[in-house]
C-alpha cells in the first residue's frame, strides 16, 4: 500500500515518517515509535486504554489514523513526567493506589491530565463523569477518584506557588 509522509510532534520530538494511510495512531505509536505505554483494550473506543493527548484534546488512538495527526502535537504517558519529576497525576495515582494491573493506567493518566485542565477544581461527580471514557477492571474507580483529587490539589498548589 502506498505510504504517506507525515510530520508529527510526539512528546516534544518531531517525527517525520512514511505510514500507510490505514495505520492506526496506536500502532504508529507502539510499533513505529516504540512508545508502548498506551495500550489496546477494545478497538472500539470504549475502554480508553489507548488515550493520548492531541493538540489539547483527549483522543482514543485505537480509532484515530496516524495520518490524521499530520502537523499535530501528540503527548503520551511517556512524555508526562518532566525531567524525571512525575506529573501531579502520576504522583496522585501512586499515592492513592489508583492502579493495580497497570494496563488502563497510561490512558487514565492522559485523560486525568487533560480533564484537570478542562476543570481544575472538579467535584467527585464531575471527576466520575470526566473520566468515564476510561474503563478500569481492577480498582473500582474509588481510588482513581482520590488520585484525581490529589492531583487537582497539587496542581492548584503549584499554580499558586508560581503565581
Amino acid at each position: 500500500m502506498a505510504k504517506k509522509l507525515i510530520n508529527v510532534t510526539v512528546n516534544g520530538k518531531q517525527q517525520e515518517k512514511a505510514v500507510e494511510p490505514r495505520t492506526l495512531l496506536i500502532h504508529f505509536l507502539r510499533e513505529e515509535l516504540n512508545l508502548t505505554g498506551a495500550h489496546i483494550g477494545c478497538e472500539t473506543s470504549h475502554c480508553g486504554a489507548c488515550t493520548v493527548d492531541i493538540d489539547g484534546r483527549s483522543v482514543k488512538s485505537c480509532t484515530h489514523l496516524a495520518v490524521q495527526c499530520d502537523g499535530s502535537e501528540v503527548l503520551t504517558v511517556e512524555g508526562l513526567a518532566n525531567k524525571g519529576v512525575l506529573h501531579a497525576v502520576q504522583e496522585g495515582f501512586y499515592q492513592e493506589h489508583g492502579l493495580q494491573c497497570g494496563f488502563c493506567t497510561p490512558g487514565m493518566l492522559m485523560r486525568a491530565y487533560r480533564f484537570l485542565q478542562e476543570n481544575p477544581n472538579p467535584t467527585e461527580a464531575e471527576i466520575r463523569m470526566g473520566m468515564s471514557g476510561n474503563l478500569c477492571r481492577c480498582t473500582g474507580y474509588q481510588n482513581i477518584v482520590k488520585a484525581v483529587q490529589y492531583a487537582a490539589k497539587k496542581l492548584q498548589e503549584q499554580a499558586t506557588a508560581t503565581a
Partner: protein, 803 residues
C-alpha cells in the same frame, strides 16, 4: 560499628512489614508507561499471527482454500488442522480431562472457533489474509440450551467421543453428557426432607459471563532452531503449568522450554487456560523458525477464551417452623460448551461447588452437578473466585432468603439462627469441608450496627406503605464463606501436579534480598506484599527486597495465581522459606556473639544477647558473615527454598449489606449504600486489601447488574464487544464502604486467608438480594440476573408496581 540506637518500634516501622499500608513497588513503571506486557514485546524477525474463525456455531468443514491468502505479499504460512495432524497437535488435552480442538478438525463446534491460522509480516497483512482464506461449511443443527442437549434426539455434538460411555469423571449417560458429580450424603438429605415441616425450592440461572480483563490474551513464541530452545511470553496466570503442558504436547524437554508471564493486564480467571492461539503461535514459530506474535482482539477474547458460570441451579432447603435449616439439596445443569475445558482441580469437575452449605450449620446436604456439551465456546473458569465458589455462595444465600420469606422471618435473624458458631470451629460441613476459623455472629452484629439495620427496615416499611413512593427500597444482606487457597495435594492437583506453591529467598552479602515465586501477579501487588512478609519474618526492610515471578527459568515451580491462592499457599511458602533462613541466621549470630543459640532473643531485625541490648547482630551483619566467614562446618550463603503443600484450604468470610432504590417509572436501580465487611485473617497491606475489595465489588456489580453473554438459536453470540458487554464506568459504579474483622487461619503460618475474590463472590448475591427484597412484599422470592433496568422494569410491570 553498630547503628545508632533506635527503639524496636521505630525499627519495626522502618521495615514496612506486615500490616503496613506500603505504597506499591510496581507502580513506578506503570505510571510512566514502562510496563512490559505481552503485546509490548518485540523480537528481531518477529512475524504476526491472526486466526480464521468460524462464522457459524455447528458445521462440517467441506473445504479450505488457502491459495489466495498464500499468494498475498508478506504472508508466510496458512495452517489448518490438516497441517497440525502429522505433529499430533490438532487436538490438545484440557485441564478437565477432555480434549479440545486446536484448529477445527473437520467440524466446528462453536461460533468463532479457530479454523486456520495465518502468519504474516505484520498484523495488517495477517488480518487481510484472514479475509482471503476461503472456508466452505455445511451447517448442522445447533444446540444452545443444555436441557435440549440432553434430549434423546439431540444432535451429536462431539463425534470424536462416539462410543465413549465414560469420561474423565465417570460414566456418560448421553452423547452430550460429560459427567455427573455428586457430593454430600443423598440418603441423609432425603431423610431430612422426608420429615421436614417446612420446605422451599427455587430454580435460578447464573448467566454465562466473561472475566474480560482489560488486556486480552496473547503470546510471543520464539523457537530457536539451532539450540532447540523454545521461549514463549504468554498472558498466563500459571506459567509453570503451561511449561509442563507445552513440553508434553511438543516433545521438547521441559528444560528447553521457557515460559514467561511478563506484566499482565488483569486476569480474573481468563488467563488460567491454555488456548489454541498460544499453541498455534508456538507451532508457527517452530515451523517457521522465527518469533511469532499473537494477540487476540476484544471480540475474540469475549467470544472464545474462558467464559465463566452458566449454571442452571435448583436449590431446596428443609427447615423447622422457627427457621432452623435441617437439610439441603442442590441439582445443577452446567453448560460447559463444546469442550470440557474448565480449570478445576482434577478430582473436582464442579470445582469446590460443594461449599454451597455456606456459613450455616446444616446437618444433611447433597448436591449433584451434571456437565453438558453445547455449541458454545469452552471455558468454565473461576471468574475472580475460587473454583465455582461464586455459584455456590449465590445459591445458598438466595435459598436462605427464600426460606426467610416463606417463614416471614427477618433475613438477618434467620442467618444468626443458622450460623456455624464460633466455638464450633474447626467445623466439618455436611459436604466434608473443614472450616478453619470464623466468628460470623460478631461480624454480622458489627455490620448491622454500622448501618443501623432496624432504621433501614423501618424506612423500607414506610416506603412500602406509601403507594405514591417514586422508588422501591430493597435491602440485601449476605453472610458468605469462601473456600480458597487450593490446595492440599491429597485433594487438589492440576494434570497430576499437586497444588503446592513455592518460594526461594536469597539474602545477598550486603543484606538486601531477592525472592522468587511460583505465583504471578496480575495487579494484586505481589512485589509489594510478599516483600512485607519477608520484612517481618527476617527483619530486612521491604524496600530492599526484590520479588520476581513469572519466568519459569528462574522461579521455582508453582501452580500460579487464581482462586485466591497466592497468599494462602505462596504466602505460607514465603514465611516458611524465611524461617529456614532465620534458623540458620540464629546459628551464625550465636557464633558471632560467642554465645549459645538459646542465649539469643530475636527482636524485629536482630538477634540480641538476652539481657544485654548492646550486644546484637542484625540480619545484614549475619548475611555478610554468612558469605565472608561462616561458622566452621557450615555451608556459606544465606538462602532457602520452600515448597508449601497446605494442610487445608482457608475460609475467608464476609458480611455484605446493600441498599438499593428502584425507580418505579424506569426500573433503574441505584445502589444507595454498600457496606462490605471482610475477614481475610491476618492483613498484610490494608491499602492493597481495600483496593482489591473495591475492585472485586465493582466486578460483582457488573455481573449482577449487567453482564451476560446472550446467544440466539443459531449460536450467534449477541454481545461480544464492549458496546454490548457491560463493564461499568466510574459513573455507574457505586461508592464502597469497607470494614473488617480479623480471625486468623490457625493452620496458616502467618494466619492469612486470601482476600481478592471475596468481594466478587459476596457482592453478587447481595445485589440480587437487594433487588429481590424490593419486591419481597408482593411475594417475589427470586429474580435472575442481570438486573438491568429493562428487566427490573418488566418485574415492576408484572407486579403492578410500575408508575
Amino acid at each position: 560499628m553498630n547503628a545508632p540506637v533506635q527503639t524496636a518500634e521505630a525499627r519495626e516501622i522502618a521495615l514496612a512489614g506486615m500490616g503496613a499500608s506500603r505504597l506499591r513497588k510496581e507502580d513506578a513503571r506503570f505510571i510512566q508507561g514502562k510496563g512490559n506486557y505481552v503485546d509490548d514485546i518485540k523480537m528481531p524477525g518477529m512475524l504476526h499471527m491472526d486466526i480464521v474463525r468460524a462464522p457459524v456455531a455447528h458445521a462440517r468443514i467441506k473445504k479450505i482454500n488457502k491459495e489466495a491468502a498464500l499468494a498475498m505479499p508478506g504472508v508466510h504460512a496458512v495452517l489448518t488442522a490438516d497441517d497440525l495432524k502429522p505433529l499430533k497437535l490438532h487436538w490438545m488435552p484440557t485441564l478437565a480431562g477432555d480434549v479440545a480442538a486446536v484448529l477445527a478438525d473437520e467440524k466446528v463446534h462453536f461460533q468463532m472457533q479457530e479454523v486456520a491460522i495465518v502468519i504474516a509480516d505484520d498484523r495488517y497483512i495477517a488480518a487481510d489474509a484472514v479475509e482471503a482464506v476461503e472456508v466452505e461449511y455445511e451447517e448442522l443443527p445447533v444446540v444452545i440450551d443444555p436441557y435440549d442437549a440432553l434430549k434423546p434426539d439431540a444432535p451429536v455434538l462431539r463425534e470424536d467421543l462416539a462410543g465413549k460411555t465414560s469420561g474423565a469423571h465417570g460414566p456418560r449417560e448421553h452423547h452430550n453428557h460429560i459427567f455427573t458429580w455428586e457430593a454430600g450424603d443423598k440418603a441423609a438429605a432425603d431423610a431430612a426432607f422426608a420429615n421436614a415441616p417446612v420446605k422451599v425450592s427455587q430454580h435460578m440461572y447464573y448467566p454465562r459471563v466473561h472475566p474480560c480483563p482489560l488486556e486480552t490474551c496473547g503470546c510471543v513464541a520464539s523457537f530457536d532452531p539451532i539450540k532447540g530452545d523454545l521461549t514463549a511470553y504468554i498472558t498466563s496466570q500459571a506459567p509453570h503449568v503451561v511449561r509442563t503442558v507445552v513440553s508434553m504436547l511438543s516433545g521438547i524437554p521441559e528444560s528447553k522450554v521457557r515460559i514467561v508471564s511478563p506484566d499482565i493486564g488483569g486476569g480474573f480467571g481468563n488467563k488460567v487456560g491454555i488456548y489454541p492461539g498460544y499453541v498455534c503461535a508456538i507451532v508457527a514459530s517452530i515451523v517457521l523458525g522465527r518469533p511469532v506474535k499473537w494477540v487476540e482482539d476484544r471480540v475474540e477474547n469475549i467470544s472464545t477464551t474462558a467464559f465463566a458460570r452458566d449454571y442452571h441451579m435448583d436449590g431446596e432447603l428443609a427447615a423447622t417452623p422457627d427457621g432452623k435449616i435441617i437439610g439441603m439439596r442442590v441439582n445443577v445443569v452446567a453448560d460447559h460448551g463444546a469442550f470440557d475445558a474448565c480449570a478445576d482441580p482434577t478430582k473436582f469437575p464442579a470445582g469446590l461447588f460443594h461449599i454451597c452449605s455456606g456459613s450455616y450449620d446444616i446437618p444433611a446436604a447433597h448436591c449433584s452437578v451434571k456437565g453438558v456439551y453445547t455449541n458454545k465456546a469452552p471455558g468454565g473458569v473461576a471468574y475472580r473466585c475460587s473454583f465455582r465458589v461464586t455459584e455456590a455462595v449465590y445459591l445458598i444465600e438466595r435459598m436462605v432468603d427464600v426460606l426467610a420469606q416463606k417463614l416471614g422471618m427477618d433475613k438477618a435473624t434467620i442467618r444468626e439462627k443458622n450460623f456455624i458458631k464460633k466455638e464450633q470451629f474447626p467445623y466439618t460441613s455436611a459436604f466434608g469441608f473443614e472450616y478453619d476459623s470464623g466468628d460470623y455472629h460478631m461480624a454480622l452484629k458489627k455490620v448491622l450496627d454500622a448501618v443501623d439495620y432496624p432504621a433501614l427496615r423501618a424506612e423500607q416499611a414506610a416506603k412500602r406503605a406509601d403507594p405514591n413512593s417514586p422508588t422501591l427500597m430493597g435491602i440485601g444482606l449476605v453472610t458468605f464463606t469462601e473456600v480458597v487457597g487450593a490446595g492440599p495435594s491429597k485433594m487438589c492437583d492440576i494434570l497430576g501436579v499437586g497444588m503446592f506453591d513455592s518460594c526461594e529467598i536469597r539474602i545477598h552479602p550486603t543484606g538486601s534480598a531477592i525472592a522468587r515465586m511460583g505465583t504471578i501477579t496480575q495487579g494484586q501487588g505481589h512485589q509489594t506484599t510478599y516483600a512485607q512478609i519477608i520484612a517481618t519474618e527476617l527483619g530486612i526492610p521491604s524496600e530492599v527486597i526484590q520479588v520476581e515471578e513469572g519466568d519459569t527459568s528462574t522461579a521455582p515451580y508453582g501452580l500460579g495465581t487464581y482462586g485466591s491462592r497466592s497468599t494462602p499457599v505462596a504466602g505460607a511458602a514465603i514465611a516458611l522459606a524465611a524461617r529456614k533462613i532465620h534458623a540458620k541466621a540464629r546459628k551464625i549470630a550465636a557464633h558471632m556473639l560467642e554465645v549459645s543459640e538459646n542465649d539469643l532473643d530475636w527482636e524485629v531485625d536482630r538477634f540480641k544477647v538476652k539481657g544485654d541490648d548492646s550486644k546484637f547482630k542484625t540480619m545484614a551483619d549475619i548475611a555478610w558473615q554468612s558469605y565472608h566467614q561462616p561458622p566452621a562446618g557450615m555451608e556459606p550463603g544465606l538462602e532457602a527454598v520452600h515448597y508449601y503443600d497446605p494442610p487445608n484450604f482457608t475460609y475467608p468470610f464476609g458480611i455484605y449489606l446493600c441498599v438499593v432504590d428502584i425507580d418505579r417509572a424506569t426500573g433503574e436501580t441505584k445502589v444507595r449504600r454498600f457496606y462490605a465487611l471482610d475477614d481475610c485473617g491476618t492483613r498484610i497491606n490494608p491499602m492493597i486489601i481495600d483496593g482489591q475489595i473495591h475492585g472485586g465489588l465493582t466486578e460483582g456489580f457488573a455481573v449482577a447488574m449487567g453482564q451476560q453473554m446472550p446467544f440466539d438459536a443459531q449460536g450467534n453470540l449477541l454481545g461480544n464487544t464492549l458496546m454490548d458487554y457491560f463493564l461499568p464506568t466510574a459513573v455507574e459504579t457505586p461508592k464502597w464502604e469497607t470494614d473488617h474483622t480479623v480471625t486468623p487461619s490457625p493452620h496458616h503460618p502467618i494466619g492469612a486467608k486470601g482476600v481478592a475474590e471475596s468481594p466478587h463472590v459476596g457482592s453478587i448475591p447481595t445485589f440480587t438480594a437487594a433487588v429481590v427484597d424490593a419486591f419481597a412484599h408482593v411475594g417475589v422470592t427470586h429474580l435472575d440476573m442481570p438486573h438491568t433496568s429493562f428487566r427490573v422494569w418488566k418485574s415492576l410491570k408484572e407486579h403492578n408496581l410500575a408508575l
